[in-house]
Symmetry: C2
Subunit: 262 residues, 2 copies
C-alpha cells in the first residue's frame, strides 16, 4: 500500500547520524517506561480520590498534561478499564467507576483468602530493607494523629501495600493482589469522614507495628495473618457503619473534597 518512491531512501543526509550518544541514554524514556509512569500516576489519582467516582477524564486533557498524543493515553485508560477503575464510554468520556458495595464485598473476601495464600505459595525472604521501609511507614503513621488528612492516609496505605506485595514471590499472585488492592482501596478513604479518625490511625499503627514484629521473627505467615485480620476489621467497621445509617443510604459516600486549589 505504501508508495515506494518516498523520501526514505535519502532521508537524514543532512543530519549527522549520531554523535556518540553513549551518555545520553538515560534522558530517553522507552515507550513501556512512559506507559508505566503515566499509568501509575493516574491510578494513584484514582486511588486517592483526586479523581473521585463519576469524574470524567478527558483524553485530550491528559494528553496535554503529559505532552503526548491521545494514543498512549488511550492505552493507559484501556488498561485501567480492564482493571475496573474506569469506564470508557463512547461519545461521553472516561468515567471513574463508582464503588459498588456488593462488588467491594466480593473483592474483600477474595483479598482475605489470597492474603493467606501469600505465605503458603511462594514467600520471599524478608530482608532488612523490608523492615526498615515498614518502620519508616510506622513513623509516618504516628505523626498523623494531629488531624484528618485523607490523602496522606491513602498514600500510607498504598505504600504499605507496596511493601507487602514485594514479599510475594509468585508473579501471578502478586499481580492479582495488586490489582484487587487498587480495585478496593478507594473505599477506605471514601468512608474516612464517617469514621473516627484517631481509631483509624490507631488501627493503622497497630497493624504496621505487628507486621514489623512478625517480620523481625521472619514470620511471613504472621505478617499475612495480621494483614488479614485488619482487612477483616476494616470491612466490619464499614459494614457496621452502613447498618447504622441503614435507611439513609441515599448517598452513603459523600465525595471528599480534596483540596486541589491551584
Amino acid at each position: 500500500m505504501r508508495t515506494g518512491n518516498k523520501t526514505t531512501s535519502k532521508r537524514n543526509l543532512n543530519e549527522p547520524q549520531s554523535i556518540s550518544l553513549g551518555a545520553v541514554r538515560s534522558t530517553k524514556e522507552s515507550a513501556n517506561e512512559r506507559h508505566q509512569r503515566i499509568y501509575q500516576v493516574i491510578r494513584e489519582r484514582i486511588s486517592l480520590l483526586h479523581y473521585p467516582p463519576h469524574t470524567v477524564i478527558g483524553e485530550i486533557e491528559l494528553a496535554d498534561e503529559f505532552n503526548v498524543s491521545r494514543t498512549p493515553i488511550r492505552r493507559v485508560l484501556q488498561r485501567l478499564q480492564h482493571e475496573g477503575l474506569v469506564d470508557i464510554r463512547s461519545g461521553v468520556g472516561t468515567v471513574v467507576t463508582d464503588i459498588d458495595i456488593k462488588t467491594m464485598k466480593e473483592v474483600y473476601d477474595l483479598r482475605m483468602y489470597l492474603t493467606e495464600l501469600i505465605s503458603e505459595l511462594s514467600p520471599r525472604i524478608i530482608s532488612s530493607e523490608h523492615i526498615s521501609a515498614t518502620e519508616a511507614l510506622l513513623n509516618r503513621t504516628k505523626l498523623m494523629y494531629d488531624g484528618p488528612d485523607s490523602e496522606a492516609y491513602g498514600r500510607l496505605c498504598n505504600d504499605l501495600h507496596e511493601v507487602l506485595i514485594s514479599l510475594i514471590g509468585s508473579a501471578p499472585l502478586r499481580e492479582i493482589t495488586d490489582n484487587l488492592y487498587y480495585r478496593s482501596a478507594r473505599i477506605w478513604i471514601t468512608f474516612l469522614p464517617n469514621l473516627v479518625w484517631s481509631d483509624v490511625i490507631y488501627d493503622q499503627e497497630m497493624e504496621t507495628a505487628e507486621i514489623i514484629a512478625a517480620m523481625k521473627r521472619n514470620d511471613i505467615r504472621g505478617v499475612v495473618q495480621v494483614r488479614r485480620y485488619y482487612l477483616h476489621t476494616l470491612l466490619t467497621r464499614i459494614s457496621d457503619y452502613l447498618r447504622g445509617v441503614g435507611h439513609a443510604t441515599a448517598s452513603p459516600m459523600k465525595p471528599i473534597v480534596i483540596n486541589s486549589s491551584d
Copy 2:
C-alpha cells in the same frame, strides 16, 4: 474500507445479516462487541496452539483478516500482553509467549487454591442447562478415543472451562479464574504427544462424568473438588514426565471417585 460512506450495506457478506425485525440492534456491531469477538478468536488460536509459542503475529496481517485497521488490533494485542499470552516487541512484532515451567507451576498452584474458593465465596445455582451442557461435553469426549486430535481435545477443555466459570458468582473471581486458565491451558496440549492418548481421554471422561454427578447432587463443592483433583493429577503427570524424560513413559493415572459427602 468504508471511506466516508455512511451506509453499512457493504459489510462482510459471509456474516449472516439479520433480517430486519423489530429490533435491528444486531445489524451494527458496537466497538466493544467487535473487540470482544476478535479478542476471543485470537485467544483461542493461542490456546489451541494454532499460534504456537514464538509465533510472530503481525498487526497488519490480523488487520487485513478482520477488515479493520491496526488500531483495534493493537488494543486486542495489548490486552493479551497484559494477560501474559503475547509479548509485543517494538520493531519485531507480537510474539506468542513461551510456556515457562516454573511460572506454570505457580499458575497451577494458584488455580488449585482458587478452585476451592469457588464453592466458598459465591456459588451460583446449578441449573439444568449446566448439566445438559456438561453431558454434551461428555458425549463429545466419548467419541474421541479413536485417534489423537489435539485441537478437538483443546476445544473440549475450553468448553468445559466455560461451563465451570459460569458457576462462579463473584465477578472478580470469575475473571481471575478465566485469565489463569488461558495462561496455563496451552501446556496440556503441548505435552499431549508425550502422554498416552487414551489415558488422557479417559481422565477427561472421568472428570466430566464426576462433575455431572456432583452437579446432579447440587453439590458445587464436589464439582470443584473433582476439578481440583484432576488439576493436581495432570500437573503431577507432567512433572513426572519432565523428571523422567528419556526412560520413563507417562504413567497412567488412576481414576478415583471423590467422596464428596461432608
